[in-house]
Symmetry: C2
Subunit: 670 residues, 2 copies
């Protein structure tokens, strides 16, 4: 990007008029001044190193070049991460964020799912063999579960692993086209080994899904082994820098010892020994989902940073006739587009942090043998994962569209963020499947309540009496906002539980009653997650004091009231809100926009994203957006030649074929 030393005057003025010190908020977000300092050290180090290495910008490259770039960057990330001794997962996260901002990394699945699966599912003996190979990169692995025809329904997978007691081997096969493994990251060209989920068959019996370690490429030549057909699945909406792959296995034989046998086992004679419990697997899933909440929140925070800064630099049209063009953030509609996204980003980051703390608490209890909180943890993580990925994806697009034409340029950084965030709606549990799981938990709680049982703390609000009326007034007390969301969730759970029970008592099968009410059930699961986000955000206010507390309180109110006014019917329908209260809320949204407007830039500055992490011409700290856009253009591949080969090959012949029909003289100038 163009080097400048001056900060755009509008942006400088925005920073001067902030009412709070963004550094204070940054320290809160990164858990203290020390950790903030460390985060900055790591990110600056990475960004300086990358600059020295002279990499090209991801957005200017072809797909093959993007893949190459990510291989290079990954090598740097892991080599340097080792050198720095980064063991704290958050430090590693920030370090890699600076190296590969919203760019996919080919060794990610190796270092997460592949190694994790071995650590969790392998026996001690297996670990002793495989972990050193994996950790020294003799093996580069991935995790192959999804098939062309099979996604969220694990039991539907078709790949087979048939035990041959004569040779003590499994014979792995992809018996149909739909059984082709499809989508695993790094499977196409990078990995030489993978965990394959397959149907175990022994003595003619189908024994369910198991995990198998299968070498797929020669460790020396990197060529696929006999019986293995493997490759990249082609261009995608995002994730272009990684080789999501397909894999077909044709009578590939692996030793019996390659089945991961910590839980289930297969003896030499083919006898199958059942696993004890799969509750620990649920624990791991909830962890990944908790991480997603924070990750997508961070994606939205970046998009909001870009759009808010740009909206203060961009001057367009006039409010007062005859006066100058105004900063576009001074239009009420622009504030209405962006500030709720900013509030949502803070709300989701906070919910993600809360969720992780809860995960740590629950796993500590689980390690002491208490599994009582696992159902809540699971229900909450599923609901929050869905809500956060939906709202963050939508929000990134709102931010992009609020940047006008330039939001479509890859230079804005926004397209890259969108295509990186939106897959979270699908991976690690499709969102509708997720919120329905949350709803199932809530209905179970309601039924326990009806049977007079004690409810888990997280859902005690289900006891809220149905006839309540909101106490919300102009002051927008946070406790009244939290109460409104609790009332809504309780009402929705009661209503839909009644419908499901009613259908069953009228003779419906329970699965039909469930499916026939699943639209409402999904809405109920989502509403619960929304209420949790508001509650967690409101609780955080005790961490703040002084002017920062006022700003954060306004932000929390804006989040809550925006969700309420976007779903007014939910609160009006049973008379919980009066129509006067509804009008009051709609008008208070506008007041909150005005109140937060002066702090908009300080609030995005507080996220503390260095320019290299935003990777955006529009979101630069110094606001020199036009120079950066122009500079970006100059690096287009189409500009490498003044006149492209395509002109000579395709354009000129076409033009000449048209000239021939006319009798105009051929000249070079008019």
């Amino acid at each position: 990007m163009a080097a400048t030393n001056t900060v755009n005057a509008d942006l400088a003025r925005e920073r001067q008029r902030a009412t709070f010190d963004p550094e204070q908020l940054t320290n809160f977000l990164y858990n203290g001044a020390e950790r903030t300092k460390r985060k900055r050290y790591l990110q600056n180090l990475a960004l300086q190193d990358l600059k020295k290495m002279g990499f090209k910008q991801y957005a200017t490259l072809s797909r093959m070049e993007q893949y190459e770039l990510e291989l290079q960057k990954s090598a740097y990330a892991f080599t340097m991460g080792d050198k720095l001794g980064l063991t704290d997962p958050l430090e590693g996260h920030y370090f890699r964020e600076a190296i590969m901002p919203h760019e996919p990394a080919p060794y990610n699945l190796h270092n997460s799912m592949f190694i994790d699966t071995i650590e969790k599912m392998a026996t001690e003996e297996q670990k002793a063999k495989w972990l050193p190979l994996a950790k020294s990169y003799r093996l580069v692995g991935t995790y192959a579960q999804t098939e062309l025809g099979h996604g969220s329904f694990l039991r539907g997978l078709e790949t087979t692993a048939t035990y041959d007691p004569k040779t003590k081997e499994f014979v792995i096969n992809s018996p149909t086209i739909t059984s082709t493994k499809y989508w695993p990251g790094a499977l196409g060209k990078t990995a030489n080994c993978c965990v394959v989920m397959a149907q175990l068959i022994s003595n003619g019996q189908h024994l369910g899904m198991q995990s198998f370690l299968v070498q797929i490429r020669d460790l020396d030549t990197h060529h696929p082994l006999p019986g293995v057909t493997v490759g990249d699945i082609g261009n995608k909406f995002g994730y272009q820098g990684i080789d999501n792959g397909f894999l077909r296995l044709n009578n590939v034989r692996i030793p019996r010892e390659n089945m991961l046998m910590k839980n289930a086992k297969l003896l030499e004679d083919g006898t199958y020994i059942k696993p004890k419990s799969d509750r620990l697997i649920y624990g791991a899933m909830t962890f990944i989902r908790a991480v997603i909440v924070g990750d997508v929140g961070r994606g939205l925070a970046k998009a909001a940073t870009i759009a808010v800064r740009y909206s203060c630099v961009r001057r367009q049209s006039k409010i007062e006739p005859g006066a100058g063009e105004v900063q576009v953030l001074d239009f009420q509609t622009q504030q209405y587009r962006l500030l709720p996204q900013l509030a949502t980003a803070y709300a989701l980051l906070n919910a993600g942090r809360n969720m992780l703390l809860y995960y740590i608490k629950v796993t500590a209890n689980m390690n002491q043998g208490s599994f009582a909180q696992l159902p809540q943890l699971h229900a909450l993580s599923a609901g929050l994962k869905a809500l956060s990925s939906w709202r963050a994806s939508e929000g990134v697009e709102v931010c992009r569209l609020a940047c006008g034409g330039h939001g479509y340029s890859a230079a804005s950084g926004l397209p890259k963020i969108y295509v990186d965030v939106t897959p979270a709606c699908t991976y690690e549990g499709e969102n509708y499947v997720m919120v329905l799981q949350t709803a199932r938990f809530l209905l179970k709680c309601m039924s326990e309540l009806q049977q007079g049982q004690q409810l888990p703390e997280m859902v005690t609000f289900l006891q809220t009496p149905p006839e309540g009326r909101s106490r919300l007034d102009e002051r927008l007390e946070l406790s009244d906002l939290v109460a409104a969301f609790e009332h809504r969730t309780a009402r929705m759970v009661r209503e839909v539980a009644g419908k499901v029970q009613g259908a069953v008592s009228q003779g419906s099968k329970s699965y039909d009653a469930w499916n026939n009410n699943s639209v409402e059930l999904a809405a109920t699961g989502t509403a619960f997650a929304e209420g949790y986000v508001v509650m967690a955000f409101a609780e955080t206010m005790s961490s703040f004091t002084g002017p920062l507390k006022s700003v954060m309180t306004a932000l929390c109110r804006l989040y809550a009231v925006t969700v309420m006014t976007n779903n007014l019917g939910d609160f009006l329908k049973d008379g919980y809100l009066s129509s006067q209260q509804a009008s009051m809320l709609q008008s208070r949204v506008l007041d909150l926009l005005k109140e937060l407007r002066p702090n908009a830039v300080a609030l995005v500055d507080a996220f503390d994203f260095p320019d290299g992490v935003l990777d955006s011409a529009l979101g630069r700290w110094d606001g020199q957006v036009y120079e950066a856009l122009y500079d970006y253009s100059l690096r287009s591949k189409l500009n490498e030649k003044e006149v492209l080969d395509a002109y000579h090959k395709y354009q000129r012949p076409f033009m000449e074929s048209q000239w021939r029909k006319s009798d105009l003289p051929v000249t070079s100038r008019l």
Copy 2:
């Protein structure tokens, strides 16, 4: 795609159980059996020719290759279009749709904006000179208005055209970085000439925006002319096959005759003659916006076709335990995601058609000297353009996400449709600017009503009394649905007009009162457009009879009731709907889903998109989706070599650097 002769059994069964004949609906959509036949002839011809020419699939190519492909395809489109004598714009549209389905075409702006501007803004003398050059492709042109720093506010453009009476030339300059022309399609590498919008300066006076014809490249060598800096703006979110460009002009001199002088004129001595009227320009804008409504509706129709067919082929999970996996469209949540999108596609296509008919009527009146309907036409086209592009963009993403993981593959065709549809939210008038223009018209009407004036027919419903109550019941009479939307719009207009007037009477400047209520104004403009879509859809029912009429009525109800339940607060707030009616509507949505489910495939079949136009592995007529996905993968560029250069360059050295730290033996097999 893989050639197969069999249609997937599930899809075949879906077609058998349809209750109406889709051909009847197709004939309606394409204005009769004759035109349907002609459309099919043209699309088949194009698709067969393209197949013979052996082009690669757009989604598998690099950006440079995509640009080359579109140059090739455009040459075919225009050469063949001439040969076929395609003069009907709709026929041309369908023909090109088959050649470049959701792919941008480098000569589009030449054939639309460049030539149109000359035709509309040039004198007869100028036309005689420039049109033959343009039509014989001596010139390939584009239209350069937008600048790096200036978009929707035309008067803010900075490019200058200073008249030099000595040489009788204009001197064109880009005085600042923000004045760089930025974004015009085909400007970067393809065009050798363009219409440049610039500030006219003569005798030291700034005389406003005018259009100038500026040659930018040598007609023979295609090199940029002296003083011209031009190039491609780089990678984007979509539109990769076209060279959106930047242009800087440094003392570029053009003859006085290159200013388009049909309206304003500049005499030889530098005297400026004002134009008479710019009302005709408004007419042209409304035409383009009317076309956009149908275009984005067609985009959504394609996405719905892909997602609905795939959801009938895809079997995943079980509803009844122990039974087989079900078609995913049998999940109520999947119906809820997709069928309202299908209804929206029909609603938007119909609104676009209505809008075009209205445009034709109004321009006929204008040609006879009556401009009375122009304000309505303008307000309606602005509101519909915004509503349709928002709903279509969102809807395409809903369809994509409903396809699970495979929706992320470029093979699905969905990413290409999204990035082609979403720019319609920004081009030809940013959507918020649009709905605020609609709102301004509505407030003007309300004020005329208060002064006792007669309202234009389109808005007579503003007289609806505020205290009304809805007559909606389970039967969902279309007239009651239309009335509900009219009531909502009337209430919103009254409320926000009251707020704006109230603020002014309390001393606010009218522009401040406007800006401080613009969130509500934007919502009001949008609500008006929504009401128009419902009204127009309901009116169309008179075109249908028998089983088709039942299906279309259900579709119209689904559209209306979905919008209502998504905005329930708007109808509950003033007591227009009771909470019993609100619950009834929510439950009727589910009934309508069930009612429409058996006809879902027939309804998408009726759009009559050939496979080549859908360009989607998931949306194929024959439902052989998995073969097609696998086939797509094989064509990935990353599969051209079994072991990529990137492995040797970046992966292997990294792996070896890690091995060195361990003492594991180096083998090729485990």
